[in-house]
């Protein structure tokens, strides 16, 4: 196996396109306004199915290559039928995917070749909150721990800096760490 220094760094991220988009969008900020959407249909019990397909961005309606569906349910210990991940696990998955995508992009930008990236996430929760046993207990996570194992052509501090930068630029990290106004209407 020859050394990797002669090969161009390739994490599968199209940096040129990202940089181009960044330049173009700083000139046309209105095109940077995106709207992400999902629909969700109740199936039975705690089982539901969400579908994502269309979104808005770059000034017009856009579509995914295909519709993606996500089944959510609760496990049997909740007396449910376990047809899918729990919604809170999907939040962990969203955070993990967002940070990991960021790591690949930042590493590419910094000419760091990744060989493997593995994230393990834990969200602690006292379910006395959601069960209404104790009103002082929060419904959501009492904290999220993310642990990365990364094999890359870089020093430990360079890898740590990539991970820190990825958090700084992550949408889901921002959504999870900062409050967001949520309005729910019934039509």
């Amino acid at each position: 196996m020859e050394t990797t220094t002669t090969r161009p760094v390739d994490n599968g991220v199209n940096v040129e396109a990202l940089l181009g988009a960044r330049e173009a969008l700083s000139e046309a900020p209105e095109a940077a306004r995106f709207q992400w959407r999902t629909t969700c249909e109740w199936i039975n019990g705690t089982h539901s199915r969400s579908t994502v397909e269309g979104f808005f961005g770059l000034g017009e309606e856009q579509r995914h290559r295909t519709a993606f569906t996500f089944d959510a349910d609760h496990p049997e210990v909740f007396a449910s039928e376990d047809h899918g991940a729990t919604p809170v696990e999907m939040v962990l998955a969203g955070l993990a995917s967002c940070l990991t995508a960021g790591i690949a992009s930042v590493a590419q930008m910094r000419d760091i070749q990744l060989r493997s990236v593995t994230a393990t996430l834990e969200g602690g929760m006292d379910i006395q909150g959601i069960l209404g046993i104790d009103g002082e207990v929060r419904n959501g996570f009492d904290g999220i721990k993310v642990r990365y194992e990364i094999d890359a052509d870089a020093t430990p501090d360079e890898i740590r800096a990539v991970v820190a930068q990825s958090q700084k630029r992550s949408a889901v990290y921002d959504i999870v760490t900062n409050p967001t106004n949520v309005t729910v209407d019934v039509v």
Partner: protein, 429 residues
Amino acid sequence: MRTTTVIIGAGHAGLAMSRCLAERSIDHVVLERGEVANSWRTERWDSLRLLTPNWQSRLPGFGYDGEDPDGFRDMPETIAFITRYAKAIRAPVETHTTVTSVKAMDEGYRVSTDRGSWETKAVVIASGACNTPSVPRVADLVPAGIDTLTPMEYRNPEQLAEGGVLIVGASATGSQIADEVHRSGRPVTLSVGEHVRVPRVYRGRDIEWWMDRCGVLDERYDEVDNLDRVRSLPSLQLAGSEDRHTVDLNSLTAIGVKLIGRLAGIQQGTAQLSGSLPNVCALADLKMNRLLDRIDEWVLENGLEGTVEPAHRFEPTRVEASPPLGVDLTSGEIRTIMWATGFRPDHSWIEVPVFDRKGRIRHDGGVVEAPGMYLMGIPFLRRRKSSLIDGAGDDARDLSAHLAGYLARNRTAAGAPREVGTGPGVSWR
């Protein structure tokens, strides 16, 4: 009145430019709304000292010749220093002359003031980068009964009500004020977003000495990867003091200051805090260590290993395991909120279309898009040191040369379309 160049602002930047124009025998006037060094006289707190050592305040034709090159000037000394400079270079300063507008004419500009107007071929804007405190919109939601103020109104802790103080922002201003307010017996809670951590002293030398020697401060605006980003970097967490102690988040928590996350919102009287505190601290620690790595490499390359203290690393920023995500602002514990959330320049009097969509002047290293207009004294204008007193000299030398070229070309090509000085729009690259 007519002149060739009007310099707006008689601080270190405007005066450095005045000196460089005088060397080129370019007729000019320096308009100053108050006295020389006005912001230092009227907009700074009592205990503030310069964050850069005495030796580092080098201005064209002027340097430090005192007994304490490694000391830090207090405000009276800073005012005296800049005033001495104005006298030494015999700068043509018109004090108590407030510019009310700058307008383009067929040729050159009309600079209107409360004491008459000037017609001029060129204008240098040196009115400062920190004219107005940037206060976040969330300030409107602060519950009644809490005093709020900005660092510009702050003079000393005694001015604040007894009781807790929430300081929002942990850059140079916020961290220094947190230190003295907490020591005054008013418990400080410090809301920390992105910040730049550096030690005051490393390997026996001041951090500014290292950054000067290693060439960090001379890095040019056209050589950095992301100019927008470096121009908006928070100020270094630094303090100037007699004992040269480091003021950073660890020194603040050691005296009892409580660190909380970035202020994200206020709802029903509760300040909502971001859960990003561990990451902003990790970012700052890593960034500091990259600077220290660079210093260590420079020491090795220059064969100085052994002549300076050995390399070492500082304790990472201590953050409690689960920092609070909210602070009740109605409990009476917090009596005062200080917005140490940065400053921005006030260029509202410039009536020439040179602004980008965020209201910043479009310029290429201080050469403004409008021909014959120049900008000085803002962060990373031409170099990393551009915001320092020490950076004004090189910037003034470069820009005065460009200005002289502009005047010369304009003279020889009278009547020809003016195209000098329209540098490329500054993009992020």
